[in-house]
């Protein structure tokens, strides 16, 4: 077997101008191929590659001055891209506040208003679509998510054979996603909301793998929000426009809730299935619900201690055949509501006639 090194002298006499030329040619060809290979990089977004951005510190390490500068830089960037000056600010968590959410499964009708109110409020990418809330259509008699339909598209909801369960970030008190992040780009704020520093995330998607609620979303492509749809009320940790390659997720609309307002998904809910409030305030909506309703959390076995609760209240009879129609048996027997109160019945003239004809 020929060892290439054992014949070093063989080439000696053959060193010619031609071989040198060929060597140069091959080297040039290789370099050209390399240059052509990296040529797509011409299309890289220059915005992403500024020194300022490169040197920006982690949210928690920024001094107020640095934070201001970062906010200004981001605002300028947003203005350049969307032609609208955003009201970008940094809202800190309030003292004595722990946010929690409660959702009434008995009332949700699966209309997906919350999904799209969230998209509009939080400047989520429309193309490709990024949505924080998923509404699951589940057959009655099971909370097995494997039977859920995420893509139901009926002419009308609710379907009497199904119930609807919206799922979004559960803002766990024991969040698996925070644990796994290698660069601490996501953390739990004092008010219980798990946030992401979009300028710190390296996009490894480990948190997405760790989340038991499928609450995290990755920007696989550059997010696109139509200029006229941009919500200019934004904060650093919540709904400022993201760039490709970073994670995002529900943050209980911090730009609203830290300013005292209700989250967007709650305000739009046509049936009032959603409740939000301060867990530490005994009079708040959620505290009242936890006290008086039968509350459950999703995937309790994962011990994530969610701050997102589901509950059912009184049986809300929207199922088929729920209401006895006119002419039903009860009706024919003359059983009518007013009979329950004889006093009232007596006070009304004509009451004595009994049942309907």
């Amino acid at each position: 077997m020929k060892n290439p090194d054992s014949t070093p002298a063989a080439g000696g006499p053959q060193i010619t101008r031609r071989s040198v030329l060929r060597g140069a040619l091959n080297t040039a060809g290789g370099l050209a191929a390399f240059a052509a290979a990296v040529s797509p990089l011409r299309d890289l977004d220059r915005d992403e590659l500024t020194l300022e951005r490169f040197l920006q510190k982690h949210y928690k390490e920024m001094t107020p001055d640095e934070k201001d500068r970062a906010l200004q830089r981001i605002a300028a960037e947003v203005e350049r891209r969307y032609a609208a000056r955003p009201e970008l600010r940094d809202l800190p968590a309030m003292d004595g506040v722990e946010f929690a959410y409660a959702l009434n499964l008995g009332r949700c009708i699966g209309c997906r208003r919350c999904v799209h109110a969230c998209v509009a409020e939080n400047n989520q990418s429309r193309d490709p679509e990024v949505q924080y809330i998923r509404v699951l259509e589940l057959p009655r008699g099971s909370v097995d998510v494997e039977r859920a339909d995420h893509y139901y598209d009926r002419p009308a909801v609710p379907d009497p054979d199904h119930f609807y369960m919206p799922v979004q970030c559960h803002q766990c008190a024991n969040p698996p996603c925070v644990k796994v992040c290698p660069v601490e780009a996501t953390w739990q704020e004092p008010d219980g909301v798990t946030v992401i520093d979009y300028d710190w995330c390296i996009g490894c998607r480990y948190c997405e793998a760790a989340c038991p609620y499928f609450a995290r979303r990755f920007n696989f492509a550059e997010p696109s929000v139509p200029r006229e749809k941009l919500n200019t009320d934004m904060t650093y940790l919540s709904n400022r426009p993201r760039r490709k390659g970073v994670m995002e997720k529900c943050h209980f609309c911090l730009q609203r809730t830290r300013a005292g307002r209700m989250p967007a998904c709650l305000e739009v809910c046509p049936v009032g299935a959603r409740n939000f409030g301060n867990l530490l305030d005994p009079d708040s909506q959620v505290a009242q619900i936890l006290k008086t309703k039968h509350v459950l959390v999703l995937k309790q076995e994962a011990n994530t201690l969610p701050r997102f609760f589901y509950y059912f209240d009184e049986d809300f009879p929207r199922n088929r055949g729920s209401a006895p129609a006119r002419g039903s048996e009860a009706h024919r027997k003359g059983l009518s509501l007013t009979v329950l109160n004889p006093q009232a019945a007596q006070s009304l003239p004509g009451r004595g006639r009994g049942g309907p004809a």
Binding site: N26, A32, A33, V271, A323
Partner: protein, 241 residues
């Protein structure tokens, strides 16, 4: 391996390398894009769908109606048409009202026949239209309690009154008192599939075939109530003779 060949083969390799690199470069620049970006069409969401306004506008107190350009209250007519005298009479003017309110199927359960500008409680006491929740309370006491505590019904504004006004809708701003059940709605468009549209083709019969776990007694009972019902009647028939 013969050593006679290498130099010629070597020459070939060396000669081909440059052009090969060059064609590689050409491929990089002019070659086809190998991956189609699988981005779906964005959903069309009408702004009206995301309105946070109350779903219903409520009548005034007392309710009024325009008749020949004159604003009339209920009693303007009902002075003449004494409903108290004929409580089961035809609903002349109000034929369009479809009452679907459970077993509550009498007008006088809520309307005060002696003063049609008002509503009525069990004890015959009157409630004005602006106090409508008190009327609903007479049957829906638990829900009323929830509503008072702020955990029933739509809320908007601030999550605590300390930080701003809390707007709470009244019963009839969401519920039609004659048909209190929420009407069915058109759901907004679902995602076109996973964000990047790379869902495999669903198998025939759909991905979520509920019959897969027919062994589940609960599912069986829910999906085929007639099965369990039939069993019971059959058994009953067997036991009879």
């Amino acid at each position: 391996m013969s050593t006679a060949q290498p130099s010629t083969r070597g020459a070939w390799v060396a000669a081909l390398m440059g052009p090969a690199f060059a064609s590689l470069a050409a491929w990089f620049i002019w070659g086809p894009a190998l991956t189609r970006l699988p981005v779906g069409k964005p959903a069309v969401v009408p702004d009206a769908a995301l309105s946070t306004a109350a779903r219903r506008t409520t009548v005034g107190d007392p309710p009024t109606i325009l008749i020949n350009n004159f604003r009339r209250t209920c009693t303007d007519c009902h002075r003449i048409f004494d409903v108290a005298a004929r409580p089961e009479g035809d609903r002349l003017q109000h034929a369009h009202v479809k009452l679907e309110h459970g077993i509550n199927d009498r007008c006088q359960n809520c309307h005060n026949y002696r003063n049609m500008n008002e509503l009525v409680l069990y004890d015959g006491g009157a409630v004005t239209y602006s106090e409508a929740p008190r009327l609903c309370q007479k049957c829906h006491g638990l829900i009323f309690e929830d509503w008072e505590r702020g955990i029933h019904g739509r809320v908007s504004g601030a999550w605590t009154s300390e930080l701003g006004p809390v707007q709470r809708l009244r019963c009839i701003e969401c519920h039609d008192p004659h048909q209190p059940r929420h009407p069915a709605m058109d759901p907004l468009q679902p995602l076109p599939g996973p964000a990047t549209l790379r869902m495999g083709t669903p198998p025939a019969g759909g991905a979520h075939a509920p019959e897969l776990r027919e062994g589940d007694p609960l599912r069986r009972a829910l999906l085929h109530p007639q099965l369990s019902g039939n069993n019971r009647t059959e058994r009953a028939q067997h036991e009879k003779p």
